[in-house]
């Protein structure tokens, strides 16, 4: 094996994907060739450059709307614009933050507990904060799908657009890429469909970021909390989400992560819970298409 041949193979020698024969040849060559040993060191050095990412603490800071400590914010922004790994990790951190800001957004499947059911202190929520956060992140509100009425959709869009920007724009101003859009999907109850017509399912958008479902309700009953059961077309229970609080604006906000449901049509059954009483309320039909 010549030096040129050995040097060209060094990246894969280091990532251990050479077949046994090639590997043995490279190794044998390295044992007797000083310049190629230097080339190996340079290859490692290059790998350490290509393996660079925004530090974890920086990603967390950006997700919480702060400048990333320990790294030039402009540089972090440039990197985020070109690194799919970091962008995906930042999106996870932002989703976590959303769950902190809006603790009446239910998650599917429910967050697994470490211990027996904890007594989680529930904060009172000041309205449509998830939406406000989304708007502050520069998210484009996509009230797609089947909406309760055109007027309701417009009102929701207007309300979201009116939210003031938050401190989370600091990094964007420093040169970071525009944050990923947060999708909201208004879903009307099946009961709103005219008698004799089948409920048209609300289609889940094929967005990279999971949609927040705004399950519209006109119900005026007051319950301690609400539960949602998700059932497939055959009526088989897929998952449940207890402890949901109705938004004062008349929505059950539900975060449905991408990949949770297989393609198909699902019914979301809402129950009102007051003490030991559990009453069925609205049902909603949603659809996930292949690749959505």
């Amino acid at each position: 094996m010549t030096c040129d041949q050995a040097i060209e193979l060094l990246p894969w020698y280091l990532n251990r994907t050479l077949d046994a024969g090639e590997r043995a040849q490279v190794q044998e060559h390295l044992e007797t060739c000083g310049p190629c040993g230097t080339a190996l060191a340079e290859t490692r050095q290059a790998a350490s450059v290509f393996a660079r990412h925004v530090p974890t603490a920086g990603l967390v800071a950006i997700a919480w709307g702060e400048p990333p400590a320990g790294i030039d914010p402009v540089l972090a922004g440039e990197h985020l614009a070109s690194c799919p790994e970091c962008a995906a990790e930042l999106e996870l951190a932002r989703m976590s933050r959303r769950l902190e800001e809006e603790d009446n957004v239910a998650v599917f499947p429910p967050a697994r507990k470490l211990t027996a059911v904890p007594a989680v202190a529930r904060r009172s929520t000041g309205g449509w904060r998830a939406a406000a956060l989304a708007a502050s992140l520069g998210g484009l509100v996509a009230a797609s799908g089947w909406v309760y009425s055109a007027r309701d959709a417009r009102q929701l869009a207007d309300r979201l657009a009116a939210q003031p920007p938050a401190a989370s724009t600091q990094v964007a101003q420093a040169g970071a890429p525009a944050p990923q859009a947060v999708t909201f999907l208004n879903v009307a109850p099946d009961q709103a469909v005219e008698r004799g017509k089948a409920a048209e399912p609300a289609e889940l958008p094929a967005a990279a970021s999971p949609p927040v479902l705004a399950l519209v309700t006109s119900g005026t009953g007051v319950y301690d909390e609400y539960q949602i059961e998700v059932r497939d077309e055959r009526g088989v229970l897929v998952t449940t989400a207890p402890g949901i609080q109705k938004d004062p604006n008349g929505f059950y906000p539900v975060l449905l992560p991408r990949g949770t449901l297989k393609p198909g049509t699902y019914r979301l059954h809402v129950f009102g819970v007051a003490g030991s009483r559990r009453e069925p309320l609205e049902t909603y039909t949603i659809q996930k298409r292949q690749g959505g």
């Binding site: 990532n15 050095q45 450059v49 967390v60 320990g70 989703m95 998650v107 007594a119």
Partner: protein, 196 residues
């Protein structure tokens, strides 16, 4: 003192009380913190599915360690602080599981002859920003190819995926390595991370 100040002081006292009760193992406080951890960690569940239970326990240990060492100083609410600790820990875990076996490589060549004698300065001793600046100046196709290498693809797999001949690919990767080395030298000579 305005009402807002009283509210913040009240919140701080509540948080300190919660920390004390958590560290004493009072079930309600432990339950509350565990509930926050579970919810904060939820977005990371799919990426860490294989070892999710271990990750949750690691997060809890980290939270207990930090609170026990008095790291929470009330600069944010306890809830936000814990949320960020959880995100940090989970992201670290994701990075650790997807990272190229770099640590293994560090030991791979030790004792392998002359190659082992060439010591490369560890990247953590260099200016982090410098390496990132080098990376940002390397052409995008170089980053893509090296990302594949770091992901553990063989040159045969890369050749098929990129639809280029194996020999061509190997030369291109070498040129990218040389380009990165050249940029690094330029930036180093130009001062801390400042291109000349």
């Amino acid at each position: 003192m305005v009402a807002e100040d009283y509210r913040m002081i009240s919140m701080a006292i509540d948080d300190r009380d919660m920390v004390d009760r958590f560290l004493r193992g009072e079930s309600e406080a432990v339950g509350t913190v565990d509930g926050w951890i579970s919810r904060a960690a939820w977005p990371y569940q799919r990426r860490l599915a294989d070892r999710w239970d271990d990750v949750l326990q690691d997060v809890r240990l980290e939270v207990t360690r930090l609170l026990g060492q008095g790291k929470f100083r009330g600069e944010s609410s306890l809830r936000t602080y814990l949320w960020r600790v959880v995100s940090h820990t989970c992201l670290d875990q994701i990075r650790a599981q997807s990272k190229w076996k770099w640590a293994d490589l560090e030991t791979l060549d030790q004792g392998d002859g002359p190659a082992a004698a060439v010591h490369v300065p560890a990247s953590n001793r260099e200016d982090r920003d410098l390496l990132l600046r080098v990376l940002q100046r390397v052409p995008q196709d170089c980053r893509e190819m090296w990302r594949m290498i770091l992901a553990g693809l063989s040159y045969k797999e890369m050749s098929a995926r990129l639809n280029v001949a194996e020999g061509t690919l190997r030369v291109r990767v070498l040129r990218c390595r040389e380009k990165a080395a050249s940029l690094r030298r330029t930036l180093l000579e130009g001062g801390k991370g400042q291109p000349t």
